[in-house]
């Protein structure tokens, strides 16, 4: 789908949708309706998702890391089906089998969120290779966190993308924290885009505070990728909350958190809109409408059914292939002796 993301108002709306969606994911957990607690919120990182996705086009493909709700929403995901997937329900994007960390939708070009740090990165090399071969004009974008900057697979993938001039882009959402380890505790080399430059990629680092800056940098990088110059973009931001829903970040000090949370891309865009004359009432209406949309997604998720048990043996292999024999059926067969 194509969206009009040129104006800050639209970028703000998209960021606000992510912010409120993520808050509702937290609520889903508190109400005991999420499937597990492995829910990684992207609050504080909305400008990375919205800024980069606003430079993507229909037909582009992408993969995300485990903190990818915002990216998927920014590419046009339906919040009802997302929330249902996070709740492990049949109506979710993956029928309740994937969940928050394995959500995907081929229709929107989402080749999959990944629970392995760096795991989804090389798929964009293959997707970009296919796009180039097929002449589709599409690009493929890998989104990952700063933790993946220390994974070898990233360097294998960037090297291949550069070597073969592929329409591929690597986007590092640097929220400063990999679980409980701060970026400077994980590497001496915190100037991340320099590494990509060393591989021959067009690379930049951008401050994620102003989504317009992210959009500008992403447009430069993605446009170059479309004509065969692969790229890398690091977006600096801050992970407002814990690693996963249950984590209260006891390893971070309060001053750092307070400073980090000042770098709020949603508040920054809101202030800029107000300053440019946007009426407060209009912004409040927007917020109320989004809150209602996301409240409805919780109702939808809670009201949906769990997948039926018969679905358990489905989709290990392609439709039409014999399904694996359930253990109980096997035991019945083996123990049914004359």
């Amino acid at each position: 789908m194509t969206r009009d993301n040129n104006g800050l108002g639209d970028l703000f709306r998209e960021m606000l949708r992510i912010r409120i969606f993520e808050e509702r994911v937290g609520e889903l957990f508190v109400r005991g309706e999420s499937a597990g607690s492995m829910l990684h919120l992207s609050i504080g990182e909305e400008s990375a998702a919205v800024g980069v996705c606003s430079a993507m086009k229909d037909g582009d493909t992408f993969t995300t890391h485990h903190r990818g709700h915002g990216i998927f929403l920014a590419r046009g995901a339906n919040p009802d089906r997302m929330m249902a997937e996070i709740a492990g329900k049949e109506t979710g994007y993956c029928g309740g089998k994937g969940g928050s960390m394995h959500i995907a939708d081929m229709g929107l070009g989402h080749l999959g969120a990944n629970a392995i740090v760096g795991g989804g990165i090389p798929a964009v090399v293959g997707a970009a290779l296919a796009a180039k071969r097929q002449g589709t004009g599409a690009i493929s974008v890998a989104f990952f966190g700063d933790g993946a900057m220390q994974q070898g697979i990233l360097y294998e993938a960037m090297n291949m993308a550069a070597l073969w001039d592929l329409p591929a882009v690597f986007v590092c959402i640097n929220n400063q924290w990999g679980m409980g380890t701060r970026i400077d505790q994980a590497t001496k080399s915190t100037d991340l885009h320099v590494r990509a430059k060393a591989f021959g990629l067009k690379a930049e680092t951008v401050d994620g505070l102003d989504v317009r800056e992210v959009q500008g940098a992403a447009t430069r990088i993605l446009d170059a990728a479309r004509v065969g110059r692969p790229g890398f973009l690091a977006v600096d931001c801050y992970r407002f909350y814990g690693h996963a829903r249950k984590d209260k970040s006891p390893y971070r000090d309060e001053t750092e958190e307070a400073e980090g949370r000042k770098r709020d891309p949603v508040a920054f865009a809101r202030a800029a809109l107000t300053e440019s004359g946007k009426a407060e009432a209009e912004l409040a209406d927007m917020e109320a409408a989004i809150a209602a949309e996301m409240d409805a997604s919780i109702d939808y998720a809670i009201g949906s059914d769990e997948p039926p048990l018969e679905a358990m043996f489905r989709d290990v292999f392609a439709p039409g292939e014999p399904e694996p024999e359930p253990v109980a059926a096997r035991l019945d067969r083996v123990l049914a002796r004359e």
């Binding site: 089998k97 090389p122 997707a127 993938a157 090297n159 392609a318």
Partner: protein, 324 residues
């Protein structure tokens, strides 16, 4: 009929598949200009060009990961892993990504890729270039596993692998590449997922795959001279696993032996022995025995290497004790 080596049959299968289907392409280390570490893709770059015989950096995880993405985007990649011993480098992309994408994403998409590799002893290649790691693959739900023993199967199983909707790991045996046979590639072969009965025999059933099929046949010939008739089953694919061919043979013979080059403990032979014991218990006269690789790394010394995996003599001696 024509005379072909196992290596040539594999190359022929790739060439025929690439001629028929534009989406098929090969990627891996040394697959193009060099022609493959074991020469399987030799000459293909001249017909198909460097884009379809894509030489890659030495980046095994990246190769498999790129194949996953290309397969999801509508291509049919054949990734080559030079030695199965390098599978550890790829295990996230293979086991966590390729194998699980269809299931995790609720059946939205499959990953129709083939990972060609080779394993086994026979070249004094040492502990990191001689292993039989098919159990790693067989233990991972979502992966198909083909493991050809014959020249005809080298061709037909690879062609069939390239029509599968799901990821296939295709394991060749390094000691078989030079094996030559008179084959008629137009002659019918068992379907994908069906085992082949390579030899009939009513006293004992030997279930095997890959090079050990030839060792089992050699043993069976020796045993026949002593009045012991052993059937030899070549599984051809380990996933799907064709138990229906095994069952009636074991029920008739009452004895079964499983032969595998991989390490004994928790290996393919262990799985097969367990199945036979569970499913054919009432018909068995003796325990189902595993004749498998020792639970040790493979040595570069030819003497130690040879003694580390089953030999025709060990298979025959075990059969004699079973049928005594």
């Amino acid at each position: 009929m024509e005379s072909l080596t196992y290596r040539e049959a594999l190359g022929r299968a790739l060439a025929d598949a690439m001629r028929e289907d534009e989406s098929v392409f090969v990627l891996g280390e040394e697959v193009g200009r060099y022609g493959g570490a074991y020469g399987v893709t030799k000459g293909l770059i001249e017909e198909f060009g460097p884009e379809r015989l894509l030489d890659t950096p030495i980046s095994e995880a990246g190769i498999v990961g790129a194949a996953v993405g290309a397969a999801m985007a509508g291509m049919r990649p054949v990734a080559e892993l030079m030695y199965i011993d390098f599978i550890g480098m790829t295990m996230d992309q293979l086991g966590n990504q390729a194998a699980k994408i269809r299931y995790m994403f609720g059946g939205q998409i499959g990953v129709p890729m083939v990972l060609r590799t080779q394993g086994g002893t026979g070249r004094s290649a040492g502990a990191q270039h001689s292993q039989s790691l098919e159990a790693y693959v067989m233990h991972t739900p979502g992966l198909r596993l083909a493991i050809p023993a014959t020249v005809a199967d080298a061709y037909h199983l690879l062609r069939a692998a390239l029509t599968q909707p799901d990821p296939v790991v295709f394991i060749e045996h390094k000691a078989l590449y030079a094996m030559k046979a008179e084959v008629d590639l137009a002659a019918p072969v068992p379907d994908w997922g069906q085992a082949a009965l390579r030899r009939e025999g009513g006293d004992l059933v030997i279930v095997s795959y890959s090079r050990q099929v030839h060792y089992a046949l050699e043993a069976a010939e020796a045993l026949a001279g002593e009045g012991i008739e052993a059937a030899v089953v070549d599984l051809r694919t380990l996933n799907p696993l064709d138990f229906e061919t095994i069952r009636p043979l074991v029920e008739a013979a009452g004895r079964a032996m499983v032969v595998s080059e991989g390490p004994m403990t928790a290996g393919v032979a262990a799985e097969l022995a367990a199945r036979i014991s569970e499913e054919c218990f009432d018909y068995l006269e003796d325990p189902v025995v595993r004749v498998a690789g020792e639970d040790i790394p493979i040595s570069v010394s030819t003497a130690l290497e040879t003694a580390s995996v089953p030999t025709p003599e060990l298979i025959a001696a075990t059969a004699r004790r079973l049928c005594r």
